[in-house]
Structure formats: C-alpha cells, structure tokens
Symmetry: C2
C-alpha cells in the first residue's frame, strides 16, 4: 500500500516545493519507488527536477481536463525510483473551469480518479503492464485552499504541513486544519495530519523559538481529541535555512545531486528516514 502525502500550506513561500522534491529524492535514494505530483501552476517542482514545463507534451492539466489521456501517458521518469506528473501554468484556471462540476463533487475527486491506476499499479489482467505500485506519493500544492489543494486532500491519506517559524505562517494553521477536517468529513475519512515540518529554521532567533513553542503546546492540547491532527507532531529534524537549497533548483538538481554534504542535504535525508520509520495510520 503506497503512502500518499499532500504537502500543503496556503501560506506562500514556506518550503512546500523544496520539501516535496528533497524528501522524494531521499526516499528514492533509499530504494523507495516514489511518485511526485506537481499541482502548482508555477510548476516549480517540475522545474526543480530539471524539466522545462513549457516543453512538456502532456501534463497533469491534460490528465484532469481530458479523457483521452492516462496517467501513464503523462508520467515522466527521473531515475529508476523517482517519477513525476509534471505541473502546468493552466492549472491556475482550474477553479473557474471546473466550477460547474463542484456541486456534484466530481471536480473535487478528479485527481484521485485519474491517477488511481498509476499509483496503485494495474494488474496485468486489466491489460496494462504490471507496473509495480509506488511506495511513496508526494503531492506539491499551490499556496491556496482552492480546487487543486482539495483534490490533493482527497487523493492523499496524510498531510504534512511545511511552515516557516514566523508569526504570519502560524496564523493560517487553524484555517488549514479546518479545511482538512471538512474534507475528512465529506470526502476522505482516512485523512490525517502526520506532521508539521519546520523549514528555513534560524535557531538563533527568538521568533523561531516562540513560534515553535506555541506550535508544540497547540499540538499537545489537541492530542487524543479525535481530530485529524490529534496525532500530529513537529517532525524532527527541523530543516535549517541553507542557501544551497535555494541554489539547486537553478541547476535542475535535487540537493543530493547538487551538494550532498551540506546541512540541507543532511536535514532532508534524516527527515526522510524519520518519516519512513513512522508507522503510517493503519
């Protein structure tokens, strides 16, 4: 059974894309078959992997808006263990475009329906090559709570919330969790929040310490209260601010290909191992 994780936060610039790529690459290096899905119209996850979104023939946008295209047609191989469904700028218009299909709930489930056979593998009997299913699926979301993010929450079983330890980034958390709860009630009862991922951490600042302690006490209070985030923890290790993580996308490389011995690579490698060690909700 693959673990399907949505990397989401409507606050912009908190490390969603950097974390999705870095964790995905680390899982692939340790032998886990990993699929990355780029739901952001900026297509930054796609660019980070060295793919020019303008040159891509079929993207996730084609997958969710056309019926003559399958996920197998769209998926691109990065290496033996790492695959991607590339993003596209036209995703920006998805809410307006699919608005008429929201009332029946069709628009909200489109990603799950269109990616199903790729993620869970098709048995040979159905005529597809018996591709192995994926071990990890990571969905990078845009900085909003629109239709793309809702689709990610319906496909995923787990949510990881990247967060910069700043005041403004903390403010949106209750709205984010509320959205996760609503999706849990209406579309996806298994959805839970696995963890909060502190990114761009500057340990010497008082602000970071205060935000992290506020967050920790909030999570402690909601333990065992039955909410989708009652088991959520602050994931360890936190990811420190490290300019190498901001440099590597310009080379189309993951941090492990670009600068394998820097803090950024260490933090994400340990984090990936810690998440693998977590026992997913049965």
């Amino acid at each position: 059974q693959p673990r399907i994780i949505a990397m989401m936060n409507q606050k912009g610039g908190v490390g969603k894309t950097t974390s999705a790529v870095s964790l995905g690459a680390a899982w692939a290096i340790s032998g886990q078959r990993t699929l990355l899905i780029d739901l952001d119209p900026q297509a930054h996850l796609t660019m980070h992997l060295g793919i020019d979104p303008e040159q891509v023939d079929l993207t996730i946008y084609d997958l969710v808006t056309r019926h003559d295209v399958s996920a197998r047609d769209v998926v691109q191989k990065i290496n033996d263990q790492l695959y991607v469904l590339p993003g596209h700028v036209n995703l920006a218009g998805l809410d307006a475009e699919l608005a008429p299909k929201m009332v029946t709930g069709v628009a909200q489930k489109i990603l799950k329906e269109r990616c199903g056979s790729l993620i869970w593998g098709t048995p040979e009997a159905q005529g597809g090559p018996n591709e192995e299913p994926f071990d990890y699926v990571m969905i990078d979301c845009p900085p909003s709570l629109g239709l793309a993010t809702i689709n990610a929450l319906i496909l995923a079983q787990e949510v990881i919330v990247p967060m910069q330890p700043h005041f403004l980034a903390l403010q949106g958390l209750s709205k984010l969790l509320e959205t996760v709860r609503l999706i849990g009630q209406s579309f996806n009862p298994d959805l839970s929040v696995s963890g909060i991922l502190i990114c761009m951490h500057e340990p010497q600042t008082l602000l970071a310490q205060e935000v992290i302690s506020d967050l920790a006490s909030f999570l402690t209070q909601s333990q065992e209260d039955g909410t989708p985030w009652c088991n959520a923890q602050i994931l360890k290790p936190v990811v420190r601010r490290n300019i190498k993580l901001a440099e590597c996308p310009s080379f189309g490389k993951t941090i492990f290909d670009y600068e394998p011995n820097c803090h950024g690579a260490d933090d994400y490698q340990q984090l990936a191992a810690a998440i693998m060690a977590q026992c997913p909700r049965e």
Copy 2:
C-alpha cells in the same frame, strides 16, 4: 490624482504583505493619505495592522459580493493618514463564485467599481461628505494570478513586483509580466510596471548577486520596447533580510511602531521616499 499600486507576485512568500504594510505606513508618516486594500484570503495585511479578520463586521468580501454595502461602510481607520479595506478568508472562493460573471468582464472589474468613490473621493454634490481623495492606494494580492489579482490589475495604474533574490522567484516573472500585458490590452491600457522590489536580500550570497544581475540585464533589454515594463527598474534601496520585519506582525504593529531604528525600518522608509520621488506615468 491618487497613485494606485498593485503589489503582486504569484510566487508565495516573497514579501508582498510586508512591503504593502511598510510602504503604506511610511507614506502615511510623511503625510500622504494612504489606503491599503487586502485582497488575500489569508488577510495577513489586516492582521499585520492589528485587526482580527474574524471580528471584522464588513470586509472587502462583502464589498465585492453584496450591493447593500459601500466602500465607506467597510473602510477602517488606522490613523489620520492610514486606512484599510480589510481582507477575509471567503475571498478564497471568489473565482468559483464569480465565474459566471467573467465571460462579460463584470467579475474582473468589480473591485474598481466598488471602490471608485472611496478612492477618488465623492464630491459633496453627490450627497457624500466631501472626503479628500487618497494620495496612495496600495493593493496586497494573494500568491496567485486568479480573479482577485486580476481585479487589482484593473484598479491599479502601477504594479510593483516584490521578489526574493532566489531562482524559483525569478521563474514566474515572465508569466507575471505576460498577465500584466494581457490586462493592459483588454481592460486597463494605462497599466505599467514601475519596479521590481528585492526583498529579504542577503547581500553576501552569490545566488542573490546572480539573480539580481540576471534581472537587471533583462530589464535593460526591454527598455524602450513599448511593453508595460519597459520603464521598470530595480527599486532602490533593496530591502535586506531583517528578523524584526518578521516579528512586528505578531504585535499588530508596523515596523515603524515596533522597531523604528532597525535596518528594516530604514530600508522601507528610504524606499517609500524613493517611490514618492518617482514621477508617476502621466
């Protein structure tokens, strides 16, 4: 005639809100009557000014979706020279909600229509108190190119693009400029890009120097080419990374009230003066 500026960039976390509040506060301090408009469903500009968006009676959302509410009912006074139209989380659903009105162009112009009398002042003859018009109007946009941002581009005459000097932040610039050009052609011929504002600058990093030099040569190449950004410059001074700028929103204060002698306050104060000195496009 008021200068109306949209602070926009679909890339998240680049300093849009921090710049809108800090510049607005600096103009107000130097005696300019300033209106801030919060178009982001996160309502961070509203929070940064010490207003709890959940407690606000009437917000910008009410203004654009109801006809029994005027901009004068919604506007809140921060001090004698600084006013705000508060944001609201329901703005997140604007694209789907107003999608039917996009085909006629009504949805795109709603902000301009609903704010007109407040921005330009109502002559006494029309029955309103003869409020002075505003000198500066600054619109904070969400991190997307959706309907809220399009409305800002139709109300504004100028665009300022805040940008972190990182590779991923540079990628979206051509799409952003293309959107400005399209709005210029279809709805707002006067729209131009006044400048690119470098935020969270870390002068010692090579990445920042490379991104800024890439940006400078791009702007030089497009000089006098007739595009809406042919006169755009990199605004000076750049805004340095300064943790005080990330601390002040938690106190609901502007940087000038919170820590008037820090780098952040200096940079934004000088920047506000430089923008005032710029002669707006006649």
